[in-house]
């Protein structure tokens, strides 16, 4: 079996094509390619441009036959819906923020707020009102302004832990609703038309 057919086999496995059906298609394809080669024809003569893209070819054939085991969702999977997506962004930002606070705090027994400069002038952008214990990094203009406001490592640690747990829960939920990973139909999902 040549490399092209092996690549097709891998794609059919990934798409959940039943093994007997995949074996049958592989055998037919192998026989055709071998006959063409014996006659001096190239794989392109048999497969057209598909000879350069075995995965796409394999998927197109399996879908056309209606033998893919991967269900097609009628609605977008969880990670494509707006609320979980927004939640992921927020939790990710919290992880980065809390991580920065912990890293900087571990060095100087304080935590730093790193804010993105939103103006291009020479002044700095401050997140907190002027007061003691606050350090502002002055110009020349850089991308960040850093303010020291006090010890808050436990809070940062708690925020980090909660955000990580939240992301983990979201990841599990996305994994459970990922179309390519589910092998069994459930209400609201449909298989491709039929098994040959």
């Amino acid at each position: 079996m040549n490399e092209f057919v092996e690549e097709c086999q891998r794609e059919w496995r990934r798409l959940g094509v039943p093994q007997p059906v995949a074996n049958e298609m592989a055998a037919d394809l192998t026989a055709d390619l071998e006959e063409a080669e014996a006659e001096g024809a190239s794989p392109e003569d048999v497969l057209g441009n598909s000879a350069f893209d075995p995965r796409r070819f394999a998927a197109a054939w399996a879908i056309a036959r209606g033998v893919t085991g991967v269900p097609v969702p009628d609605r977008p999977s969880l990670w494509r819906r707006p609320v979980p997506l927004a939640l992921t962004v927020v939790l990710g930002a919290l992880v980065v923020f809390a991580g920065l606070v912990l890293v900087v705090g571990a060095r100087g027994h304080s935590f730093a707020v790193v804010s993105r400069r939103i103006v291009t002038g020479s002044g700095s952008i401050h997140l907190f009102a002027p007061g003691p214990g606050r350090i502002v990094v002055p110009g020349p203009p850089g991308p960040f302004a850093v303010s020291q406001v006090g010890n808050a490592n436990p809070i940062a640690f708690a925020v980090l832990a909660l955000a990580v747990v939240g992301l983990a829960v979201l990841a599990v939920l996305c994994w459970l609703t990922w179309p390519g990973l589910r092998r069994f139909p459930r209400p609201g999902w449909r298989r491709t038309q039929r098994w040959n």
Partner: protein, 107 residues
């Protein structure tokens, strides 16, 4: 190639007798369709089979391994007849429109 026309050509070459995949490619090539195109004929054969326009059976080929032969079903024969009529009407219309153009043949 126009959408659906290659399907019609496949049905037509199958009308000459059962054939396996590569055999149909060769029959098409003998009739001047040497470029199978982007998708190759296999997905099309899969779709025709799924739609019930062709029937399949396995049989030994000349000295080679058993092959999957495709032949027209009753529905396929009807589709071929209807498709040929439709194609001829389309071709006549296109010929009528393009016939007004005086093409210059340059050496």
């Amino acid at each position: 190639m126009l959408h659906g026309v290659l399907d019609l050509c496949l049905l037509a070459v199958m009308g000459e007798g059962p054939a396996y995949g590569y055999e149909m490619t060769k029959r098409l090539r003998e009739r001047g369709l040497s470029i199978v195109g982007e998708g190759s004929i296999y997905p099309l054969l899969g779709r025709l089979e799924r739609d019930g326009l062709v029937e399949t059976h396995r049989a030994a080929s000349n000295g080679g391994p058993p092959r999957k032969y495709y032949n027209l079903s009753a529905e396929g024969e009807q589709a071929l007849t209807a498709g040929v009529s439709e194609w001829q009407a389309t071709r006549d219309g296109v010929d009528g429109a393009l016939g007004l153009v005086k093409a210059e043949v340059r050496p």
